[in-house]
């Protein structure tokens, strides 16, 4: 799904973000988020990292979880706030302008699940390692880490094909917004390397998008 590149353009104007994403991903992202959110149980305490306009946050809150949603973009948070108000879930959601580097302010073993939808691909190598370490710390034993993100395909042929599709899209996105996105290399290994147990992993046919459910040992 190289169309995620184009989400850069949408991010520059959060007001159009949701509609644009739906068109670009042909509704596929909705399915991904539904599947991930189905792991959340009522009453759980959930952290949504890089919540954006709140797609995962709202799904988790609808399932009865208490969600803390963080993002570094105040305008995205504003829109998320409005959407949460519309579905009358404000009592279950706490929005916070905060980056992954500030996760050290969260108490240890305080969350049942941590979600990250299209967030890790925006982090640098250092930030990703740090985030995984902190997530491990703040999750309760047995807690879940739910990830949906763009990855670099393992199969060399698929890597070349995705690259060819991505390049023009990257160029368009760069020309319009002067920003770019990077797919993550070896994400499953990094998650396992941080000490998580892989529960399930679902790759797209082109191997360029991954859904991961990982568990913190214990519990």
């Amino acid at each position: 799904m190289p169309s995620y590149v184009l989400m850069r353009i949408l991010e520059s104007s959060p007001d159009r973000y949701d509609r644009g994403v739906r068109i670009l991903t042909l509704g596929r992202l909705e399915g991904v988020y539904e599947r991930l959110a189905s792991r959340i149980k009522p009453g759980q305490r959930v952290l949504d990292i890089g919540c954006g306009t709140g797609a995962l946050t709202i799904r988790a809150a609808m399932r009865g979880a208490r969600v803390k949603a963080i993002d570094i973009n105040p305008r995205m948070l504003e829109i998320a706030g409005k959407k949460i108000e519309e579905v009358a879930l404000t009592h279950r959601v706490e929005l916070c302008e905060m980056g992954v580097a500030e996760l050290d302010t969260e108490a240890a073993e305080s969350y049942d699940a941590v979600m990250a939808g299209l967030c890790f691909s925006e982090l640098s190598e250092d930030e990703l390692c740090y985030a995984l370490r902190e997530i491990m710390r703040i999750l309760k034993p047995g807690g879940l880490l739910l990830i949906a993100d763009e990855v670099v395909p393992r199969n060399p042929l698929k890597r070349v094909i995705t690259l060819l599709i991505r390049l023009p899209l990257l160029l368009i996105a760069y020309l319009l917004t002067q920003t770019t996105t990077r797919a993550i290399k070896n994400l499953p290994e990094k998650v396992e390397g941080a000490g998580f147990i892989m529960e399930s992993m679902r790759l797209s046919r082109m191997e360029d998008f991954v859904e991961i459910v990982a568990r913190k040992p214990g519990g």
Binding site: I72, P74, M98, G99, V100, A101, E102, D104, T105, S124, E125, D126, E127, C129, Y130, Q178, T179, T180
Partner: protein, 380 residues
């Protein structure tokens, strides 16, 4: 050295575009537990220049490269692309906290338009020292015990930088013009290419000549904000005239002045003047152009709140401030409305006032920065 030169050349030609490099921690020399920590954005050209200065001066230190989206420090900070979160992230995730015993980080002064020293301190325990504007002043700054002279705080617009700006406009312009000409008027590709290099150079190099005029001629025109583009009264008119002169000269030399030629030349000159006029949209020499009428904000001081702490003096890139009990602005005319003083003031004593008397409080500026095409003027 080759790499340094290459990056500088590419960076100068493509000055208007972001050029990101890897973020993270870089060791310069042989740093120890008390070595200084410098931080800058991940604009490739900036990073190379800072590195070079530090390496040449023999300062053993750590250089943190934070994510400014590949944009230079001033533009990214003022435009909301280089924020507190990026600095916090660099300090927390790079591992620098395990390497040094102190908690002082030197940030480039121009980052003050977007990064709040107060917030960084609260969230990370690191205290921010505002470094000099230009990397070349870093060794002097360190020698002086991390104190800046007024000169180190001031942004100038010297000939070298004017040439850089001229190149920044000329390069993309000339390519656009040459491409257009290639399809429409092949024989004119070269002259037009050369012309689109000459024009920006003329504008930028002669800047000192007419800058005085611009400052004085602050007529209140009540026309729409788009008048500048089509306003042939000042600079664009001069250009149009020079185009016509060139035309006459060409005609005299070749004795070839057909109607078709006149039409083409007229069209081309119009496009060129239009292209160069885009420059007037606030990017450079003529930054206080009519396009930004609604953004000609004034910095106002609430004397009740001011304690004379002098943070504004440290961050103002135009040396507008002086402390005399409380802050004074004896050189307010030099202000470029970057907003750094307002963002940094620990007592919220400064704010913007728009020409129609609306007040823009510090919270709004901290939140929206200077980006969004004046969107911070949106009533909150």
């Amino acid at each position: 050295m080759l790499r340094y030169m290459l990056i500088n050349i590419v960076g100068t030609l493509l000055r208007g575009f972001p050029l990101p490099c890897k973020t993270g921690l870089v060791r310069i020399g042989n740093p120890g537990r008390n070595s200084p920590v410098f931080l800058t954005g991940n604009y490739c050209v900036t990073v190379e220049r800072v590195k070079r200065v530090l390496e040449k001066s023999g300062i053993d230190c750590y250089l943190l490269i934070a994510n400014s989206r590949g944009i230079n420090v001033w533009c990214s900070a003022a435009g909301g692309h280089f924020t507190n979160h990026d600095v916090i992230s660099a300090l927390k995730t790079s591992g620098i906290e395990r390497l040094v015993d102190h908690r002082r980080v030197v940030l480039p002064q121009l980052a003050a338009a977007g990064i709040e020293a107060k917030v960084i301190g609260e969230r990370t325990g690191w205290s921010v020292i505002w470094g000099p504007v230009y990397a070349k002043d870093i060794p002097k700054f360190v020698e002086n015990g991390y104190k800046k002279s007024p000169k180190m705080r001031e942004v100038e617009f010297p000939a070298v930088q004017r040439v850089e700006m001229a190149v920044m406009w000329a390069f993309p312009f000339s390519i656009i013009v040459a491409l257009l000409a290639f399809f429409l008027w092949r024989s004119a590709v070269l002259p037009l290419f050369i012309l689109s290099w000459l024009l920006p150079f003329l504008i930028f190099i002669s800047f000192p000549v007419y800058s005085g005029l611009l400052a004085r001629g602050k007529k209140k025109s009540r026309l729409s904000r788009y008048t500048v583009i089509f306003d042939f009264s000042r600079v664009p008119l001069l250009m149009e005239v020079s185009f016509l002169l060139l035309l006459v000269m060409y005609g005299l030399f070749t004795g070839n002045l057909s109607f078709d030629f006149l039409l083409r030349w007229g069209f081309v000159s119009f496009v060129m003047v239009l292209l160069v006029s885009i420059d007037l949209m606030g990017s450079t020499p003529v930054y206080k152009s009519g396009l930004h009428e609604e953004r000609l904000l004034r910095v106002v001081l609430d004397e009740e709140k001011c304690t004379g702490c002098g943070v504004c003096v440290q961050v103002c890139p135009r040396n507008c401030y002086e402390i005399d009990g409380i802050a004074r602005m004896p050189r307010a005319g030099k202000c470029v409305q970057c907003g750094a003083c307002i963002v940094q003031c620990p007592f919220d004593a400064l704010f913007f006032e728009s020409p129609d008397g609306r007040i823009i409080p510090p919270e709004t500026i901290r939140k929206f920065k200077l980006n969004l095409m004046g969107r911070r003027l949106v009533r909150v």
